[in-house]
Subunit: 506 residues, 2 copies
């Protein structure tokens, strides 16, 4: 009988070798041209804006291959062309001018961790197929949780979800499932659940309430103080009024590092209200939670040990590759208690340990990429001291920027001051070019932001005020979150803003 | 004034170069020892089972580094030791004996795609920061959807979610949001929503109903036929009875490739019931949906164009690295219609195109890794023909196994026969070693499965029957889903099962 075989992967080793040899120098070059410390540095390597139509025309040049035999059988140059275009038309986030979002560039250990995860290509849902990755996730999840849950060192722990939103969603499900266990079988039923959060929270809190069938109208958005943090008196009266109105209080979300202002809510005071009314107390620390790594800044997380759950994303402040988001609990066993359906075809559940290593059983999902591994490797690589240095450096750079613009005409902080700086790593500010008369800054902000991007050197974001209707319009939100930022880069950024402002026709 | 700078990433290019040079030969060696076509092949390279306690002892040898300065500043050998342990104590899924789960090994283009994604390290939530990845996701999502939604070629499309479960969850949310738009604001309210699925569906359908606040008791699990597919008569009467009982029918889930048996539900007949009662019709094709790539096997998906949504996972049958799961819709605009909250601080929404490229706006999440890129690259690399060959080869191997065991004593298929084989790529069977007297096969199945694993050569899964209480106990579920499988591997697998059975003390 003839052997049955396929040629598709008959040459894996040589092929992988060939592709690694093709791609490795390209990515080194890609990093080098974005690195001010490299001889190949090009300040405009961040890249410029392209409209989708333009990108489609440039990118989709080999798509006849999709319908035929594939690029595998073509000369290697064809694949190389695709890879070159993907790299060169993307935003090069290794460039220090990438200050647009709350994450920074990847780094060497991040790339290697992703590469190892890719080679392992297993699923961290069940121990049998992912023993190492499951053990490491439990280990690092606990070690991470211990930074927050100082009173629950033995029992705390964490699992990863594919982004802060999904960690927040999961926390709300755990809250409902543990506080109202009958809802697992019966659904929300006649409960009129209420969720409380500040007006400056991330949209995922509202989306979570929609997804859980609670409805966005039953998310009470509490007022904020001038610094963007939650007004606890407003929370108190909102909770009390909602109870009078027949609501069942379910969940309070407090934010550590809000999306726009970077504010921290007052956790201890919030926890008192939560405890009084027996409400689940969650902290969305996706952005700001990782100040716990800094002796100087961890005071912003005071009271986090009182939370029932905390989201914290190493892929933001700690430079772990996206995505890497943890949901942390004071009692790690509650993941399974809240989630398990004991599917016997998957979870055979026998090992010599009291911990659960079939990690998906503690989630609402099944297949999982072990994002935790990237955090384990990053922490191991830089150590506690390195991560602290990373966080502190970013705060120092933000402070440098604030001091710098405080001496210059036209700059105005939206929140905070030189003496009482914004609480996290982003700085929100208006800039009025000389002679700019409009009270509304939207036009100037957008013009300058686009002008910076058009030079391929800086990408910075802008935003309206989430709450105030003061007519001042949109402002810059620039994020200082990378060890490659230096005071020289900031000097140049400020000069570039001023220069771009001069191009605005008044 | 002194410059403010950090040394943490001051040497990115050299460091990345060094780490790539350290890891590249290791992963080539890792693949080579698992590859029967390589001179370095070791049949036992799949690895053996380790208890968690044993792994912890071996793995966590450098964890003092976590609390100090990190391995970065230690001799390179220390990091090398960690990487070696991670690789060598993991299950080597490149070994052809990895037949345990519904995914297979990675492959060269998969590794490279993951590497490029890691270097780009951006977030495919907003076009500005991920222009290329957003355009490619829309492009490949549409092309993929066109294989299923043959009547909606112009409007169909898809987005990725972090696994089949999350795609299924999202489909249920879209169903509720589009059919009962007031639920977005008001929650489930007084609706008593019903969900229908077969008894052999994946647990994520039930978990989705729990997450959405519908409750697991309101998931009606319909009977199956002998081949494991949904009994449409039972569905019909269940739906009708539930309406009489005051339920509002929301969602029917049909499965393309059930988890245990690999059965395909009858989509056309199910769609008629769905249409009659105005119920959302979803197909969970996480596992089996990709038979659409095969001219021979795509008939199993007949009727898929009648679905309102389809989950399909390239990370399973198509060998794309985990995770890569798409939710596909006949009208791609419905993602945003169902999901958007128009958060103005993130989604500025201006480009020259009618499509939405701020992809997160069409999801319940925010940050996203662009899993779609790995599928784009895989499809481009192998082409339609290569993916067809991949699927067909796997079916041929499964068929070869079935024919082989049909001639041997002690083997008995749980579902299907030589003439009418199981519908997907897994084969469920009992094996009774010579002299095995027990009607319950659990002991023999588990013993043999462990014996195979203990040799480091084969990892195969086992399961109880999800529905039948016939006392026959657990059976093998072996998955044939890789181009590296050959008839010779199957011959050896069968011999190994028989040999392991002889070791069982009767």
């Amino acid at each position: 009988m003839t052997s049955i075989r396929s040629e598709l992967e008959s040459n894996r080793v040589q092929e992988l070798d060939q592709l690694l040899k093709l791609v490795s120098p390209k990515i080194l070059e890609y990093v080098a041209k974005a690195d001010p410390n490299s001889d190949s540095y090009q300040s405009n390597s961040l890249g410029t804006y392209h409209e989708p139509s333009e990108l489609k025309e440039k990118l989709l040049t080999h798509h006849d291959r999709l319908d035929a035999t594939g690029i595998k059988d073509a000369p290697l140059g064809e694949l190389e062309d695709v890879i070159d275009k993907v790299l060169n038309l993307s935003v090069n986030t290794w460039n220090p001018g990438f200050m647009d979002k709350l994450y920074a560039s990847n780094n060497p250990i991040g790339v290697i961790s992703d590469l190892i995860l890719s080679v392992l290509n297993t699923n961290s849902h069940v121990y049998t197929v992912s023993p190492v990755l499951s053990v490491l996730e439990n280990y690092i999840g606990k070690k991470y949780a211990q930074l927050f849950f100082t009173n629950d060192q033995q029992t705390c722990g964490g699992l990863t979800f594919s982004g802060g939103s999904w960690s927040n969603v999961t926390s709300m499900q755990i809250a409902r499932s543990l506080k109202f266990p009958e809802t697992k079988e019966l659904g929300n039923g006649n409960y009129k659940f209420a969720v409380y959060t500040s007006k400056h929270c991330h949209y995922s809190v509202e989306k979570a309430a929609i997804l859980l069938g609670l409805g966005s109208k039953n998310v009470f958005k509490v007022d904020i103080l001038a610094d963007g943090s939650m007004d606890v008196n407003s929370l108190k009266s909102t909770v009390e009024q909602s109870i009078k109105d027949g609501y069942t209080p379910l969940y309070i979300n407090a934010t550590a590092g809000t999306t726009v202002f970077g504010s921290f809510d007052p956790f201890t005071e919030i926890s008192e209200i939560a405890r009084k009314h027996d409400i689940w107390f969650h902290i969305d620390g996706s952005w700001g939670g990782n100040v716990v790594f800094s002796s100087t800044h961890k005071k912003k997380m005071i009271g986090s040990h009182l939370a029932n759950s905390i989201t914290a994303n190493p892929h933001k402040m700690l430079g772990v590759p996206t995505t890497c988001s943890f949901l942390l609990l004071p009692h790690v066993g509650h993941f399974q208690k809240a989630m398990s359906l004991s599917a016997p075809y998957l979870f055979h559940g026998n090992n010599d340990d009291e911990e659960n290593y079939d990690l998906a059983d503690g989630t609402m999902g099944c297949g999982r990429r072990a994002d935790s591994f990237k955090f384990y490797m990053t922490w191991l690589y830089y150590g506690q001291q390195g991560l602290e240095e990373r966080v502190d450096h970013a705060f120092n750079i933000a402070q440098y920027f604030i001091e710098k613009i405080s001496h210059l005409d036209g700059f105005e902080l939206v929140v905070g001051s030189k003496e009482s700086p914004p609480q996290c790593l982003q700085v929100c500010f208006y800039y009025s070019p000389e002679g700019y008369k409009s009270k509304d800054h939207t036009e100037a902000t957008r013009f300058i932001s686009r002008a910076l991007h058009s030079k391929g050197k800086y990408l910075v974001d802008y935003s309206p005020n989430p709450t105030s209707q003061d007519g001042k319009g949109e402002f810059f939100r620039v994020v200082f979150n990378s060890p490659i930022l230096t005071s020289e880069v900031i000097d140049d950024l400020v000069e570039s803003i001023v220069a771009a402002g001069k191009e605005l026709e008044l």
